[in-house]
Symmetry: C2
Subunit: 331 residues, 2 copies
Amino acid sequence: MKLRALSVAIMSVVAASAWTLGRAAEPIQPIKAIKPKNPAMVELGKKLYFDPRLSLSGFISCNSCHNLSMGGTDNLQTSIGHNWQQGPINAPTVLNSSMNLAQFWDGRAADLKAQAGGPIANPGEMAFTHELAVGVLNSIPAYKAEFKKVFGKDTANIDMVTDAIAAFEETLVTPDSRFDKWLKGDKKALTAQEKAGYELFKNSGCTACHYGPAVGGSSFQKMGLVKEYDTKSKMAGVAGLTGKDADRMKFKVPTLRNVEMTYPYFHDGGAWTLEEAVDIMGKLQLGRTYSKEEIAQIVAFLKTLTGKQPDFKLPILPPSTNDTPKPKPFG
Amino acid sequence: MKLRALSVAIMSVVAASAWTLGRAAEPIQPIKAIKPKNPAMVELGKKLYFDPRLSLSGFISCNSCHNLSMGGTDNLQTSIGHNWQQGPINAPTVLNSSMNLAQFWDGRAADLKAQAGGPIANPGEMAFTHELAVGVLNSIPAYKAEFKKVFGKDTANIDMVTDAIAAFEETLVTPDSRFDKWLKGDKKALTAQEKAGYELFKNSGCTACHYGPAVGGSSFQKMGLVKEYDTKSKMAGVAGLTGKDADRMKFKVPTLRNVEMTYPYFHDGGAWTLEEAVDIMGKLQLGRTYSKEEIAQIVAFLKTLTGKQPDFKLPILPPSTNDTPKPKPFG
């Protein structure tokens, strides 16, 4: 009996190792939970992320378009900015965005810190200036005290603001999806259809671009590799930065984590359903027409990528003071 | 020693009773914490409160203008509605609003349930219809399951939606302010200036209108009793409903709970600072010009009315499905 128990134990170890080895070769890796290096900075950044006083109107915060109740997006084709301006491009999810090789669809910001300052000063988004936003914060003693605690300085500046927002955003990872459980060895975490969808996703070439822990975010690729993408959007992608014709319609490959929550899809928000998005991707990027059943399989797999959503208390913002500059929503 | 200890104990009881009796006669009573009758309904209502899919644009939720990070208001003079329309009146705080004798500045909704349906269908606010909003919710299985659990019906309707939002809003009370601690017997909870401010607030007649646990919300009064209020706002108050000249400029007396957070003040948001608001109230309602020192005392007292702010996790909303009607932000 003892020997038999031992041999079963050995066999289990061998099987588990084989499983682990198999998984290590997968093009997608599990998302790791994050332990923030500087919790005080994260708390400050969370407040700033939710604070509409970083906008000219006093109405638009980071969370307006990257809504953490809704997959870190606004679920609109293109966003609503100051004075109800229509944005030119679909708001990408902030969830797991720390894993992107660069920020924005065209990668024009190197990292989250560089990104965070963009919308504040963009006339079509929050329509403010860095100076005015920082001025608002410095007029509020409770904010000043928090900046002092975190950065050791008496006066906040835009560097501290974007550092804090980026520190908060770095915590917005979504581990423990069903797919990650399966990757880690829980064979029952996926259904047969979902596993078939994953096999098809790998075998038909999707993982050439959608790989890594974020299932994307690691490269720039041409939208419409085999066949041109039919869109009304005027966004040219990386070419808008480089001016090179070869970069036309090159966009950052979006993460597919939580993709069930981040509709509509593509840089123009042109596809509202995952079925449509998978169909278009097959035809335009792979030159392949998936059958209805195949699409259903891939979509079933994609829905297993929904992980643990942000889990924190709604931040309470310190009130403005008599010295705080007033919001100007109506010009 | 034993006798002396007893007499000290008796004296303490007598003193405490006198204190309690004194407090019972105060025009303001402490806010009681709320234990929700139906926690599942509150959770559903919380999601709906944060869900911008109850608006035509998919961008505006209850929380947009009654922001629970900011005292249950938007801290704007008048709110921003669909297509950046300028609202006609200042958004009142949702905090402690269950204590109001009626809802809206003119009291046109009897209670929170009646109020909740208003903004959804108001073309200047969320610009949707009850039918379309309910249609969106019924297209989302996770919402349907929650409605089923709470109301026992397979299909949601607007009555359930407003019941749930009202149930959530009823939990938004703010107990344990420093003033309430003082009312309950903690003599050290207020400074000398704050106590002087409260005495002045009572003695000069403010409590004629601002009384009860919410320090207001219990009556309609004419804005500009002694002297006419100078405003660009066209809102006529209760007269807008009754057509009676006697009701012109009659508005619901707002709660002063958390007033430090609910700037700007009055139905037109005409006063940005508490100092200005107290000065105007003295002159217009009481025919009294407070000195700078008196204003500082009353303002110090008013700032002790900030209680425990909403304390819950950011709700995560169930994603739309392929059948969910699409938002129409840009007409």
